[in-house]
């Protein structure tokens, strides 16, 4: 049995597509000449990040290029996501130094507590957002990787200046 479709008789003004097409094109041409652009030309153009943006970590180094970390163990203690692995040991000069310092960026919730608690101002969250990798393992940043990062670091919220002015 053939399927029968009921076709309504409508006036031509209502069923013609020409009017809608023209109105759509008019909108397009209006945006072509409009100076207010919405699309950003990534990667040539980048977002301006807030100074308190919290991205993946970076470990700051001292003048000799060594990580500032003294393996005090406060960041793994404060970390609510349990993403920091720290095994303390000694460096060549007998100073306290992390033998293993690893941050699992997948587990990290970017709360910034590690940066806030760090007494040496060593571990920081980063002001960047490009983290793509080819493997899952690469998201566990070791000490070498953390010290090699060069992106700017995020600023802590200052209670005396809550709006960052």
């Amino acid at each position: 049995m053939a399927i029968r479709v009921k076709v309504l008789e409508r006036p031509i003004e209502q069923v013609s597509y020409i009017r809608s097409t023209l109105s759509g094109l008019a909108n397009t041409f209006r945006h072509m000449v409009d100076p207010h652009k919405v699309t950003m030309q990534y990667p040539e153009e980048r977002w301006d990040l807030s100074p308190r943006w919290r991205g993946t970590h970076r470990m700051l180094t001292n003048e000799t290029g060594k990580a500032k970390c003294v393996a005090c163990g406060l960041c793994p203690t404060v970390c609510p996501a349990n993403c920091i692995k720290l095994v303390p040991g000694e460096d060549e000069e007998g100073n306290r130094f992390p033998l293993i310092f690893e941050i699992d960026e997948f587990r990290c919730i970017f709360c910034g507590y590690c940066q806030e608690v760090c007494p040496e101002e060593a571990i920081h969250l980063g002001r960047h957002y490009e983290n793509a990798e080819f493997s899952r393992e690469a998201f566990v940043y070791d000490l070498e990787r953390l010290t090699a990062q060069t992106h700017p670091v995020s600023e802590l919220w200052d209670p005396a200046d809550p709006k960052g002015e």
Binding site: V70, A71, C72, G73, L74, P88, E90, R96, P119
Partner: protein
């Protein structure tokens, strides 16, 4: 030596005092600081330690005593009838705040790298009642780190000169190698020229130090205090049975600390007991039950392994070679097996030099370097040094966690070469048994199971589990219980406490004891007539 408050003789006159609004009755002559402990008030202090003579140098324990013109040091003031003490009055708090500020003048702000951080009394009390900020602007005094020999490192910058270490070495070890050198802000703890902290008990200065000035080299930079899990245990280094706290990090024992027990070790632990913990973490453990089939080791299920062991043991005389570090429970179950099957039990104990702590009565690193040789003797095991049992070719030799390392005595090699079937129940499979044993059942060591040891004075003390067992290893009392049940020598028990209850019901000397009554301080076995068994003279 000041004595702890709980050793009260009935004829002592009691006085009642009110501390922080709480009234208590303590024996005459008790100091305010000890009286406060009985009502649950901890008066901040540095130089005071219950095991050391009172010095009164730190001025941290100043308290407000009614009708006293000045604040009184709680450690050096004895209580008087009707005295009213206020620990947290405005005046006392202000004084202690001042003391703390002075202590912090030269104390470096290096808590992040200090090993004591997290268990530091200076940190705790500063947090509790110190100033939030320092008013000191001049440069701090600096002295280099000094190696005190032994296991001790001295960091003079952190020292608050409480002199606990000086008094410990002088009055308890009775080897006064430490002193306070120089004066004023230049003062530091000096060490006598040409002497090191090499005494067997010198390592206790690290525990006594309230701050991070004296550190253990062994523990240096290994872990933070707050990361450690702690369990009550007993040292297996010798037959003294010192109470210890096993501290683990990620299931690895990183340090042993003395646990206070005035009946055994007071507050101390010797160097031997403190540093000999690495064997606990050894990785080459036997972790799966194995049975020899056609000359080859085969890893099998527990049920099959236990059946194989029971089949090997069934109906035969059994000679048990037990480690004197086995718990009372394990030794008892093996003894049940001997009682059923016939045979005998022996143990082999290492001997070493005795090292007494002179200032404390009856505390020494004992010659017998095993925790439970006394328990083994009480349960009818004989010392192998006093003669080897005769093992026939159709007997079974049950090796119960004897590691069989080093040079084996001829008595032992004689037992091994008798042709008897060998069943091994232990933590590791010794190399000599590799080609010899028929069944190997993996068990846990004393930090991985629960049980009791009997020390050389016959005090039965509990130890608790601190780590998880490797692989499929089971507690040794559990394995023995399964074996005993299979051999028809008794019912299986599934709690260490139930095994101990059975032991208490079977052996007169353990009668009346249970895990609940032993608690964590232990109790002596009852029979004084067994003194001869308990403390045999050991020639070294």
């Amino acid at each position: 030596m000041s004595t702890a408050t709980n050793d009260v003789k009935p004829e002592v006159k009691m006085v009642s005092v009110t501390i922080e609004g709480r009234t208590t009755s303590v024996p005459e002559g008790t100091t305010i600081i000890e009286a406060a402990k009985t009502v649950g008030v901890l008066i901040p202090h540095y130089c005071y330690h219950p095991g050391l003579p009172v010095a009164g140098v730190c001025r941290m324990c100043l308290v407000d005593v009614e009708k006293f013109p000045k604040l009184a040091p709680a450690c050096a003031t004895t209580v008087m009838e009707g005295q009213v003490v206020s620990v947290h009055s405005e005046k006392a708090r202000e004084a202690r705040k001042g003391v703390l500020e002075f202590l912090l003048i030269n104390h470096p702000l290096d808590c992040p790298v200090c090993d004591q951080s997290g268990e530091c009394e200076l940190q705790d009390y500063t947090f509790q009642e110190g100033r939030a900020e320092s008013r000191y602007e001049e440069p701090k005094r600096f002295n280099p780190v000094e190696d005190f020999g032994g296991d001790v490192l001295y960091v003079p910058n952190r020292c608050i000169l409480c002199t606990r270490c000086v008094r410990f070495m002088g009055d308890v070890v009775e080897e006064p190698v430490l002193n306070v050198s120089e004066r004023g802000d230049r003062a530091f703890i000096g060490k006598a020229e040409g002497h090191d902290l090499t005494d067997a008990w010198a390592g206790n200065v690290v525990d006594l130090c309230p701050v991070g000035a004296l550190l253990s080299k062994d523990f240096l930079n290994k872990a933070r205090a707050w990361e450690l899990d702690r369990s009550a245990s007993i040292c297996t280094g010798c037959s003294q049975g010192c109470n210890v706290t096993v501290e683990t990090r990620d299931n690895t024992v990183v340090r042993l600390k003395p646990r206070s027990n005035t009946a055994v070790n007071h507050f101390y632990l010797c160097e031997q007991g403190r540093l000999d913990y690495r064997w606990i973490n050894r990785r080459d453990r036997l972790d799966q039950p194995k049975v020899r089939v056609d000359g080859e080791w085969r890893t099998v299920d527990w049920e099959d392994a236990l059946d194989a062991a029971a089949a090997a043991l069934a109906g035969k005389r059994v000679t048990v070679l037990a480690s004197p570090n086995c718990s009372n429970e394990t030794l008892f179950l093996a003894e049940r097996m001997i009682a059923r099957q016939g045979g005998s039990g022996v143990f082999r104990v290492m001997l070493g030099a005795e090292a007494p702590l002179r200032g404390v009565e009856d505390l020494s690193l004992r010659a017998e370097r095993a925790a439970n040789a006394t328990g083994a003797r009480l349960l009818g095991y004989a010392d192998l040094a006093q003669g080897a049992p005769i093992v026939n070719a159709n007997d079974v030799l049950l090796v119960l966690d004897d590691v069989l390392e080093g040079e084996l005595p001829t008595a032992l090699t004689g037992m091994m070469s008798s042709g008897a079937i060998v069943v091994h129940v232990g933590t590791t499979l010794p190399a000599v048994l590799e080609g010899r044993a028929q069944v190997a059942l993996p068990t846990t060591n004393h930090t991985e199971e629960e049980g009791t040891f009997t020390n050389l004075r016959g005090r039965v003390q509990r130890f608790l589990q601190a780590r998880t067992a490797p692989g499929l290893a089971r507690p040794s009392w559990y394995v023995m219980s399964d074996l005993v049940e299979r051999l028809g020598a008794g019912e299986g028990r599934y709690m260490a406490s139930a095994v101990f209850d059975q032991l208490a019901a079977t052996h007169a000397s353990f009668a009346g004891l249970s895990y609940a009554t032993l608690a964590l301080r232990g109790l002596p076995v009852i029979d004084a007539a067994e003194r001869d068994v308990l403390a045999p003279t050991v020639a070294v």
